[in-house]
Symmetry: C5
């Protein structure tokens, strides 16, 4: 899974029918020291993440597995909210 | 899913038989501030996207899942048109 | 799918038995303005591509789906020859 | 598989129900000369890795295959502890 | 598939039970002009590759397909030895 921060939402009225009804959030990956960096992704929100919250998400086929119906064309899903990252 | 802009089309008369008849668009990924950056992709258009439009697309196996017949050799499919990205 | 140019072939006498008999071409990804850039890949040629030709290819599981027998350990397959890329 | 070092843990109380109970470790990929570099990942720990230990992990669908129940939304799993890397 | 050079082996006594018994080699990707570059991978050796040899390997689900038993948590497998790369 990957660490990211919730940076926005996507408004989309035209989309394929088999996309789930869940909210689509824009997330951006996090570096080891917690900064956002790199290309944003659009992920299905399965944990009711709040704005700016740190989350972790799954990619690819496993994102579809996280959904109630795994036959969705979804390749990124937020599956947990990060309370803390404890560094060794 | 990933944010991209539609930047062109691909004309291809010789292709494998099991490719779908759908239009093949050239799309380029978007940075957090909305600029196109990085390598373009060839994606099947499932939402009748217009030139220059912002879209989001799925990659890999999930792109095939977005198609009526999932046994296609397709690894990128446009599944939504972006009306707006609301940043927090 | 991804745009690439055919830049060579691979000669390999020792390989796993379940690899298909098809030609193995070396291809290199293309930038938005058509230059080759980045790491080359070894792809199965399903469209009889010529040297230096521009092609598009699929990656991962979908490459195997493009083959007559999808149980091959193939993760890149050329599925179309690019006649033209029309930029908007 | 990929080489990485264990650099921390993730504390997450809100997560999807089908995530496994296993520990979630933060790992960072290793360069050829053994330095950590690049974005960290959150991986399920299947080998009781210790802090700072070098491990190797699988990504994507194969991570789910490493779990007792492969229907988990897991895309990274630590499957071995590295005793030594012997360079030629 | 991807071009790489065999640069070492991994010694690992603690690993998950469903990993195959095959040798685990450390390989590093090759640039178009044949230099090693980028992060090393740990790949299952299916062709008895020699030290320093050039090989090509498959990633992801297809690596598992290359194994006698495809239910392994393997995401990289060496499937061929490169005799020569003929550049156009």
């Amino acid at each position: 899974m990957h660490l990211a921060r919730v940076i926005g939402t996507v408004v989309a009225t035209q989309k394929t029918e088999n996309l789930p009804e869940s909210r689509l959030l824009v997330i951006q990956p996090l570096t080891p020291d917690g900064r956002t960096e790199g290309r944003p992704l659009v992920a299905v929100d399965l944990v009711s993440a709040a704005p700016e919250e740190r989350v972790f998400f799954v990619r690819g086929r496993e994102a579809a597995n996280a959904m109630p119906n795994p036959d969705n064309p979804v390749d990124a899903a937020i599956v947990g909210i990060v309370d803390a990252v404890e560094r060794y």
